[in-house]
């Protein structure tokens, strides 16, 4: 039997942090045809709440540490404020949305990151996606909205990067669906020249990526992001796109399409 197509769309701070941008995006998302899942990060809400509560952001070797207080802040903002406000807005746009963490329905099981040199605290690395349960929820006509939290099935919620959640869902659900994964981005795609917003690399395959990485044309923050994309493609995800959020109403706009 032909698999259904499911589109997973990940949005980050550039969409979440501005209520007008978010509202426009959610309206566009509601008009996007076919089965879909939304994944969102927390944007600046967690940092803002932590500031108000006097919870210090602890950084070790450039990495943010999630202690117990910071985890509570993440739970309150990601699963509470951001997630439920998105769900309420999508309902207004007639999308039968449901807000989820990885604990809900045991949908995303993770494992607390082990101490190596740095103790990251309550940070989870994804172990397994409960594809059957997510499919059962989708089959009720419901659109899942995931925030950046998972759990260890031992009662502990864990902070997990939203890009990783989107990628894990994409891989985990690829046995059931043809998966399109769209990373919404502040730029229109991966740039060839950081100074030129329109220098979009329209097609990026694995060989080109290796070349551009060696030439230092693609560097820093884009590398883990793209490494994850190629890993997901190798694990069965069909299409990955990095694009501006407007791509979902204008599929002809410039964007980066990633393939093996």
């Amino acid at each position: 039997m032909e698999k259904d197509t499911l589109t997973i769309i990940k949005i980050g701070g550039n969409v979440i942090d501005n209520s007008e941008t978010l509202s426009t995006f959610l309206k566009n998302f509601s008009q996007y045809k076919g089965l879909k899942i939304l994944v969102h990060g927390g944007g600046k809400a967690a940092t803002r709440l932590a500031g108000k509560l006097g919870v210090e952001t602890i950084m070790i070797e450039g990495k943010r540490i999630t202690n117990e207080e910071m985890l509570d802040v993440a739970i309150m903002t990601y699963a509470g404020l951001c997630n439920k406000k998105i769900v309420a807005q999508l309902q207004n746009f007639n999308i039968q949305a449901i807000g989820l963490t990885g604990a809900d329905g045991n949908s995303i099981l993770s494992k607390k990151r082990e101490h190596t040199t740095i103790n990251y605290g309550y940070v989870g690395d994804v172990v397994e996606v409960n594809a059957k349960w997510i499919q059962a929820i989708i089959d009720t006509g419901t659109t899942p909205v995931f925030c950046a939290l998972t759990h260890d099935k031992k009662g502990q919620l864990l902070n997990t990067n939203a890009d990783t959640i989107a990628q894990s869902l994409a891989v985990g659900l690829s046995s059931i669906y043809n998966i399109n994964l769209i990373y919404c981005f502040e730029k229109k795609g991966v740039l060839q020249n950081m100074e030129d917003e329109d220098s979009i690399i329209e097609e990026l395959n694995y060989n080109t990526y290796q070349y551009l990485k060696n030439e230092n044309i693609i560097h820093s923050g884009m590398i883990p992001k793209l490494d994850n994309c190629f890993k997901a493609l190798k694990q069965g995800v069909k299409n990955i796109i990095i694009a501006n959020p407007d791509i979902i109403i204008n599929p002809l706009m410039l964007h980066t399409h990633i393939s093996l």
Copy 2:
């Protein structure tokens, strides 16, 4: 066809506010046989967070007002901290739990309370329960955990009393299920004498209730609670029990059974 039995259990501050009591309750809840829904209030978490954030609790004529800041506090604590920690713990006890507000799946539609003499702010009175969707979720083998938030389907989340949520779910789902509604309480039931913790009224029907109310034996806070119970029974709920949380592992313990 014979209806399935569904038990709706509502817990409040006396369970939520103590992590050990909560953990014991959730373990007992996980062992409670049959289809079930958990409804929880926020306990003191919202008041505590509001205090830390300097959000003032505004009272008008003895009624708490939910302004925008206080609603955000409610969303963060009810839908975030309380709800998701309960879900994660239930998953540990092998319950396939999911945390919900009334916005999720448009499960509980409400209407912002209209100004009469008091503007209550973002408080919602329940209009409709989406019984078919909740049934579809339960049919996936999932146990819903509702917090005290609803929405107006126009993008606005609204604060709604947890007792009312439990009662609305009970009435709304009574067309599909035989509903048992259990209000967990700090006492073992409705008392005949406030000074005597064991003076439980074991059977309370409508006529007895009227008599005890007239005699001022039942008074103050119990009256709206019991009025709501009788309303629910008239609207099709089969059994209502007011009891100590331990009732769910010890059905023989003293409790108040309410009937028409």
